[in-house]
Symmetry: C2
Amino acid sequence: MILHDFLPSGNGYKIRLLLTLLGKSFDLVEHDITKGETRTPEFLSRINANGKIPALEFDHGRVLVESNAILIHLAEGTPYLPTDVWERTEVMQWLFFEQYDHEPTIAVLRSWVGIKGMPEHADIFVPMKRAGAKKALDLMEKRLSGHNWLVGDALTIADISLYAYTHVAEEGDIDLSIYPGILAWLDRIAALPGYVPITWKP
Amino acid sequence: MILHDFLPSGNGYKIRLLLTLLGKSFDLVEHDITKGETRTPEFLSRINANGKIPALEFDHGRVLVESNAILIHLAEGTPYLPTDVWERTEVMQWLFFEQYDHEPTIAVLRSWVGIKGMPEHADIFVPMKRAGAKKALDLMEKRLSGHNWLVGDALTIADISLYAYTHVAEEGDIDLSIYPGILAWLDRIAALPGYVPITWKP
């Protein structure tokens, strides 16, 4: 398998972390999104018409996109995606929450503060994103203040997905110290056997 | 089952349409999101801590949230969610695309133009949302110009999910006439036996 990715990307890191926890080997091909390398005609036609990483290319040529869809694909049949129908749906709920409420605020702030630089009209956008980020983290804290994991009593791809941008939220000047449940959960994940940091590559 | 919903919501309509196609009966409880009715203490504590509709309440008290997670839950074991592992993943890809690229642009424009009214700084936000909407529709057209359905050769929840806000995109002053593949697909869905319009309620 070839993972088309950009190392600072949390969306890419979700896949790197799950593949490593599953003990699956893969190659990494890096595409610098800050230089438009996912918007070349070749990338758009062969890898992802939506011009984004991560994309997971299989030996038979098939390419999967959308980080959370890739997580579901890889986790099916493993302990990271429960078989219980209600727990599965809870996992899905968190995955859609991640793409709608969490990534567009927390990942975007990190990108502006630490990667791409501030956008035009930052005075309008940044407070709006900070309010959204707070709402998303409040909702996670509500769960994690009373539970070790987002779903059930074991790690699932819901945790992996939400870990990716939460654990680097402070790079977007988001203060996590007011969220003890989230902080303990971050430590719990970083202590997993086989854990690799976001800077790691195969 | 009780569907907590707001009739103009495309996210809610996804569930209404799938339940009807599946021949499942349900009750509808309406909550006017323009009046803050999903942000009351009672709604937040009993129905959805994230303050959103749709939410599907089962007789035993369990409540499901996130429209696309509810679609997956209801479609599992039906023809609307394929058993083939690659087709399943394609469905998931479209569902995450819907929540990340499509709903935040196309549904939001419709809400501003037709439901809630323009936001502050509309001169900045609207062109940005229009560019995002065009990108999302271009990607759908790329698939639908050569295929009847988004995944495989039959209707899936990917079609139901993306139909919801696409078929009312013109309420957000989005011109669909330049997308013949999308228009033919919209007609195909509206002609399904058991189809109900967004204004229908049980």
